[in-house]
Symmetry: D2
Subunit: 358 residues, 4 copies
């Protein structure tokens, strides 16, 4: 189902970059859950651009209006609809692109699929802007999860080859909160500074860079997930690939596990002093057979570099059927990875809450 995911908690995302509004409908939030709108605003602020040199200059208020599903500040048992009006859109910036698909963008695919019928102004429904309603839904999900003792946190694991430290095996809430409050959500601030330099360098070169977001989910009950095609990995991966620019998802040791021996990769178990079954490593990322073991769930999502770059690139003219070149102007973020951190958290929170209430 395009633009939708979830089983008992269903999330539907709508809107085009240059349409009237973007928004979400979430069906299945538990009833009576208080929404901390200030906390939600802060969460949305982490995704929002315009603050720093390294993100797009488009000033988005991103102030959500709640049309349904909320009464007296609480979820009220029925579908929640929240919208963000589109104000500051400059369609003329993009009109020149109509017949010259931008390399690395959905333009060409959209052309093949819908001809001229799709509203691709500003990227249309594929725009990174559509991650705002994902964050509204996910921000609320995070609040509900926290009340259940489940915490979702993420950091920039890598940008342009610069690596942050990894999460420890058992990250605590304080650590996740501290990272979330940083301008650059990293563990090592030094790594963060170097990343910013790389981003600025790319920007000056009219280029862009990619990176990796690492996410952890703590406090999950054991036994969550179902065998084969409905495990925690299947569900999370399916949803995370819905975030624009994601090209890879791995859990625990992930691709690195392919290089380990079984004796290295297996997480050997022990009873801790409280009788909980734990392991000192977490190569499984908290998931075995698709099902949670009680260890933190960990995953990493790879983001390709922003395809919108100002460098001259080869492309085709769909009208004249000739090869041509393109220089993309307009406001573009040379690195979406920093802003993607809360988006990954949002998607994970929604999937996990769905699994918890199913």
């Amino acid at each position: 189902m395009p633009s939708e995911f979830g089983n008992k908690l269903r999330v539907s995302i709508f809107g085009q970059s240059h349409g009237e509004a973007i928004g979400c409908v979430v069906n299945g939030f538990p009833a009576g859950e208080e929404i901390d709108f200030d906390a939600l605003d802060r969460f949305l602020g982490r995704r929002r651009g315009g603050k720093n040199a390294h993100s797009t200059a488009r000033a988005e208020a991103d102030k959500p209006e709640f049309l349904s599903g909320v009464m007296d500040g609480k979820t009220c048992a029925f579908p929640l609809c929240a919208i963000i009006k589109n104000a500051d859109t400059r369609s003329k910036d993009y009109s020149a692109l109509k017949h010259t698909p931008r390399p690395g963008h959905a333009d060409l695919a959209a052309h093949f699929k819908w001809g001229d019928n799709a509203d691709m102004r500003g990227g249309g429904h594929f725009s990174g802007r559509l991650t705002a309603p994902i964050c509204i839904a996910g921000g609320i999900a995070k609040q509900i999860l926290e009340r259940k003792g489940v915490f979702v946190g993420a950091h920039v694991s890598e940008i342009a080859g610069i690596k942050d430290e990894s999460f420890p095996v058992f990250p605590d809430k304080a650590m996740l909160d501290e990272i979330a409050d940083k301008k650059i959500p990293v563990i090592s601030d030094q790594a963060g500074e170097e990343m910013l330099k790389k981003i600025e360098e790319a920007r000056k070169n009219l280029d862009s860079v990619g990176g990796i977001v690492e996410c952890v989910i703590t406090g999950l009950p054991e036994g969550l997930g179902d065998p084969m095609f409905d495990g925690v990995e299947n569900r999370l991966a399916q949803a995370i690939f819905g975030i624009p620019a994601v090209k890879g998802v791995e859990f625990g040791a992930g691709f690195g596990a392919a290089k380990l021996f079984g004796s290295e990769n297996n997480d050997q178990m022990y009873f801790d002093e409280n009788g909980r079954i734990l392991s000192k490593t977490n190569h499984a990322g908290g998931i075995l057979g698709g099902i949670t073991t009680g260890m933190p769930v960990t995953l990493r999502a790879a983001f390709k570099p922003t395809p919108s770059i100002s460098k001259m690139q080869n492309t085709v003219n769909l009208e004249t059927r000739e090869n041509t070149q393109i220089e993309i102007t307009g406001r573009h973020d040379p690195c979406v990875v920093i802003r993607a951190v809360p988006v990954v958290e949002a998607v994970c929170a929604l999937v996990i809450l769905d699994m918890l209430i199913s």
Copy 2:
């Protein structure tokens, strides 16, 4: 939905390692499609163990019986059910494990989820043996796809750090067929030999190794897939994570894209002599915005090393609630990656056929 996937083509897998039979129900195969049973047997043979030193000694005939969905050798419009009877099961090998979950296995997760109620003999429904019915379903899907000019092929991309060559940007059917016929499905036979050595080495050390399978799908129409959460990547990833031991999935340049500049990662387009829009690189893996561009779809799946190893490992005794150790005996494949190659093809074929007929 556990043990099931697909929309219009729905695949349901059933069976436990030591139950009566394992099998699949496939709902939605186009009617009137001839099944080449010999070709299907050869395909199943690629997955089957017992031939080589590097795979499990359990002799599985894996001869499928078709209970429904077939008439006069053709699909007959109705759900296809095929089963494989379980003959050679030695439950006693596993009975000792009942209270000592094997590190890296689903045992612990199953214990948390179902207590003693799950049939975990021989790994139960989590056993790699359950990939046989996936291959029955997927083998038929491959045959149907071939008639549509769509080819699915895979090779061992890496085992224990030894890397095979990558697929060229436009692999042809002959190449895919040639790889499939090899004892070790690789492009570079020398890499294959080295992989076998590493596997043998691990076996001697009572250990195991992991690896990566690369898969390509050629001949796809443009415009397949839907935005956000129902794109080709979402669907393939969701299903591929259903293959036991998969811990990561990436498309095109995948995690490597995170290290590239936008100007490097973007696939610049041109019209070829036949007026087709192509690109010289395929970092997007044939997918932009979740939708096919007409370039081959490429992906890689990371497999962790077989968790069943004969080395002594720490674990817990769920009955005595004490820490203990375990030495896993019985027949175990020190590397599942080679046998996983047709399984990845099977899953990809099923997902792609589903998308083509939806």
Copy 3:
């Protein structure tokens, strides 16, 4: 999935009677379909109250705003969101009802399910007002279907025991249009007049009446629908029971078929002059084995009488836990059947369009 239905064409309805707005998100409309907004307004007008003595006095403008999915008056490939702001809500009318569930309403069920957490003001998400966004979605679906030669029409088949004529075996578009334009959508205007009298009588008695809507879908291709649980009947019934107050759905001869002999009920086939296979009767309602035969699809939906009546009724006080009585005041429609006619058409159009594009 609550408040949602459909496979490739997915309809999601949100909003509470006294919330900010009600609306729909429709995912999967074919791209490039022109929306005739005037025709849509006329269609919505058929559902709207306030015109006649027999419907509620609440003045609803019901003017939809389109937030997404539309560009230059056409569907634009992406999810369509339309909303109707709630203006004229008088919550105080309903506040007294909080602890005294109204007989025949969802109040009691909602109390059991959500305690005080559900927004049940004015019926909340269960209000008949929520059929307005269904009609927005369905009205557009009807327009798209008409371009494919598929026509959906309905009439009041019965109110308070007064029966209209039945549709002929092959109703034409002109007939359906003529009925739709009537103040009371019936075939026999005399029956319509008698129905109005019965409604007025009920209103004077502080009571209400129920009835039956008959719907026909013509121009359908043969072979639509899938066996067993995914046939045309399964899909239509599942969705039609989503319309408030529906308590029964039957196809073709329906419950009447239970009284016929096989020799009477079977529709005997013949080739007509154009080589089409037809039958003189249509007891099957155009569906055999869940699959269309090319004959018109016919169905009937039974609506219970409006539960909101001003007569004194017995109920319980959930706070004091004592038996009590209730007199429901406020504006209530003594018969929803007339306004339900376009709603039935809307739901059928959405289901059928979904099946046609799947």
Copy 4:
């Protein structure tokens, strides 16, 4: 999804009348539930033909083999597959029918949908025989429900115009059991005798009769079901229309409610001596707003007369494209309603168990 239904409890039915076997896969039965195989056999016996003059002479052993999902007589957490081998099939009886679709059968629809590719021997996948695996799945579901205090029972409410009494408002388990044990599952044995006479009469006239099955579900918790399109009615109706020959489904007063005044139809509530909220009538069939109220859920399903009759009927020859006539020979049940009673129970049990565990 054809031949499948359910959310957390998923039922998939496979097989053709003249194929190797028919069967079911059920995914999601709670683990550790004991299966009383004798009780299951008795339940299947209620559906089985061959015992009486009024049902088909085909001797079906209908003995299910369990291929998966069961260990030590209990559900074992994984998909349950049960099959019934097809032994006594006489394909030649049906070969003559290949080009002359039988009136009232799926033959014509199948021809339009699949041409000659569908296995329609003996009705193929549309055969009433496919209700046997539904009863295996549903019989187990009934056993699980009984342990939760939920009872599902049904009776023949009407055959050929002869009506049985209705269930009382609160039928108890003893009554349901007593009815189930009868040769003709009716409340009034006299009505049952008259029904049998009517069936025998029809048989002698080479004709058939239809009827109605009434089903009740007691012991349900309040608050089951979700608003609009995912209520108890939507789910039950969707599944019940999957039973061959069903043409109508109604809940509570159903179509009769259309003739009542609101003051008659509304179920007025009171606290009983135990503080439970009940009503003296149950026109709502235990469901308001799609959600259970704690009153018994009641429904009725209308079955058309068996389409296979030996009387001469008009039909078409699809090969010669000429009008022709047909006399259907072979073994046919002149009334499926009696055997349909446990099938309705089975489907209801599966839907309700699904909703209870979701």
